[in-house]
Symmetry: C2
Subunit: 233 residues, 2 copies
């Protein structure tokens, strides 16, 4: 059982830090899947444009050094441990991810998507249409995930940051930054008391967004230009 | 990108003929996934029992001789053609299937499931919990699938068949047979006029179920014993 790459993700998310745990947390995140020539996009994507949502099966390519762990510690419930098959952790026997994304449009071999949680360069294994009748259960029980507190951080901006956002062409940039930062994206170390107020940055599109977290509040300080990246607009 | 098998499906469905296109069409279908020893089920399944539904990622193992087809003819809409990525066809670059099933219980390394569309012997690649918040969209558009007529065949039984069903231990056997046969399972050739009334059989659990289809109606004629199969009860 060997896998073929069908294409690659180009995304507003450049690295893991700052990439949401699920696409629905950042509705205005954008990207596209570039289908490889050998799969004949003009044929194989036929009819897909009539669906509003897609499943993307992808390879967790950032995990080359990580091995399978039968038990994992969910980032959102760090005090507990659950089995790999009871989680969406990348540390699985087969590091295949499953994401539900919104389909915006198709142009040639490019499938433009939004509301995604996929990182730049992710190898795509499959695209399947979301079929509500097959893929949804009205009355389900969702184990430990139901016990998570939906606690959100409040996100504020400096005047400087606001100005920088207003002059940037990314659509709904301010709301997207709020969506990303309102889930605490810091690692365990940076959440410790001695690191309160530490200035951190995350890459988004062609930007490095500098922020500071203190007691339930995130302050976006300034936004630095990064690489040119017109890919996903 | 190489895949590891995490386990094998044992199912009431023994062959492709008679296996429903989706699990929700046969709520009482039953089976289990036997997790291989090396994945340490006692750890890796921890917490899974608190979920009501699972995603099963599997390998379409019946398709060893079949190659990728960029355009397919959906069995339920034979007059039209859609791209492989706009369908759930097994003829994909990576023949990975995605099924939503109901979790009944876990016993050691066995994950008992129902409402499945998986065939005996299917290699399983991954199990992920169904998380309604991530995996469901309320307001979706489902392309060509929305245009399918939900036409169902009426299913009748001979007295002989009814008696045989009543003496068989499989739970809800009659309803399960109705669920399976009310979607016309015949291939294109057997649907042709000259084959009207032809007696066909499909394997289910340890049974061969003989039936005859005429003008919108299926008649279950008799039920023959097959192999011993106590596996999935």
């Amino acid at each position: 059982m060997k896998l073929e790459k069908i294409g690659i993700v180009h995304s507003c998310f450049k690295v893991k830090f700052g990439t949401p745990r699920q696409g629905s947390l950042a509705l205005h995140s954008r990207g596209y899947i570039e289908i490889e020539k050998r799969w004949e996009a003009s044929k194989s994507l036929q009819g897909l444009e009539e669906f509003s949502h897609l499943w993307v099966l992808f390879w967790f390519h950032g995990n080359t050094n990580l091995t399978y762990k039968p038990v994992v510690r969910p980032p959102r419930l760090p005090a507990s441990r659950v089995g790999a098959f009871a989680s969406r952790s990348p540390l699985r026997p087969n590091p295949i991810g499953l994401s539900l994304v919104k389909l915006d449009r198709i142009e040639g071999s490019r499938v433009y998507i939004s509301s995604l949680d996929l990182i730049e360069g992710t190898p795509v294994l499959d695209i399947k249409p979301y079929i509500h009748e097959y893929d949804s259960v009205e009355d389900s029980k969702c184990g430990w995930v139901e016990n998570l507190s939906p606690q959100k951080l409040q996100v504020e901006f400096t005047d400087e940051a606001i100005q920088q956002i207003q002059s940037h062409p990314y659509p709904n940039l301010k709301q997207t930054i709020i969506d990303i930062l309102s889930s605490d994206i810091r690692n365990r170390n940076d959440r410790s008391e001695r690191n309160t107020g530490k200035i951190l940055g995350f890459y988004f599109s062609d930007l490095n967004i500098l922020f500071q977290t203190t007691e339930g509040k995130v302050r976006v300080l300034k936004i630095e230009g990064l690489l040119a990246d017109n890919d996903h607009r």
